[in-house]
């Protein structure tokens, strides 16, 4: 399956009610160790209840500047939450179904170290 197929899918709960759109897929480099990196696994899906538009991560990180843009993006993607992969019942075309009683988790990213 392609990542682009998952992105922009509708996210629905067990009753078929739409709770948002999948705007990103959370990965973790923590699977079985390989030659270079460990396996990169899918740990969850990020869902935005209000918008499908491109997000620059303002709602998941502490970045504050530039102010106008940060404010706008945070408003656009207010209420974004993370759903663990274990809470995903089924992946259909253009749609992802969550299990009954799934947990909405905090979408915040751990503080990114200085990358170069």
């Amino acid at each position: 399956m392609l990542l682009s197929d998952l992105l922009d899918s509708d996210a629905v709960d067990a009753d078929g009610r739409r709770v948002g759109a999948v705007i990103d897929v959370r990965l973790e480099v923590s699977g079985a160790p390989r030659q270079l990196l460990a396996d990169t696994v899918v740990t969850g899906l990020l869902v935005s209840p209000h918008s499908r538009f491109s997000t620059w991560g303002y709602e998941r990180r502490d970045e504050d500047g530039p102010l106008l843009i940060a404010r706008f993006q945070r408003w656009l993607h207010r209420g974004t939450f993370l759903v663990a992969w274990d809470d995903v019942e089924r992946v259909d075309e253009g749609r992802v179904v969550f299990r009954r009683g799934y947990t909405a988790r905090d979408a915040a990213l751990p503080r990114a170290p200085r990358e170069r």
């Binding site: 399956m1 682009s4 990965l27 270079l36 899918v42 740990t43 709602e59 992946v91 075309e93 990358e115």
Partner: protein, 138 residues
């Protein structure tokens, strides 16, 4: 994380066991460089292994993994929708990735990859044939 006081309460996510990346934010559309920092391509899409469309997921089943970076006609597919036939897509297996930061570093030389065939072709058949093409600038 949200400033809105009436947003629903979210639970904290479990602490990560390794580097955390958001596929769209951190991986997609980033430059892919080879082991000598020579650009190979841009990551146009990712291939995920272990998700079957329409099939219910058993609780406790292994989580899907990222199996490859896709490029080639993939960009056009992403822009306009649709799927390229598997034979046309250019894959860079994820196991060749050595680091993911502001760029994606591969642990191998670019020349060994399918992804650089277009560059090698233009180099050999066009640019390389113009006098001076193989020399560094004065």
């Amino acid at each position: 994380m949200t400033e809105n006081p009436d947003a629903f309460q979210t639970d904290a996510a479990p602490p990560p066991a390794g580097q955390v990346l958001d596929a769209h934010l951190h991986v997609l559309d980033r430059q892919v460089l080879d082991r000598d920092d020579v650009p190979v391509t841009t990551a146009d899409d990712l291939e995920l292994d272990g998700i079957e469309v329409g099939a219910p997921i058993e609780p406790g089943s292994p989580r899907p993994t990222v199996s490859a970076i896709l490029t080639g006609p993939q960009l056009v597919m992403r822009l306009f929708g649709g799927h390229a036939p598997a034979a046309r897509t250019i894959r860079i297996p994820w196991r060749l990735v050595s680091e993911v930061g502001t760029v994606i570093h591969l642990g191998v030389a670019g020349d060994a990859l399918d992804a650089t065939w277009a560059e090698r072709w233009v180099s050999r058949h066009l640019i390389g044939r113009i006098p001076g093409g193989r020399h560094a600038p004065e």
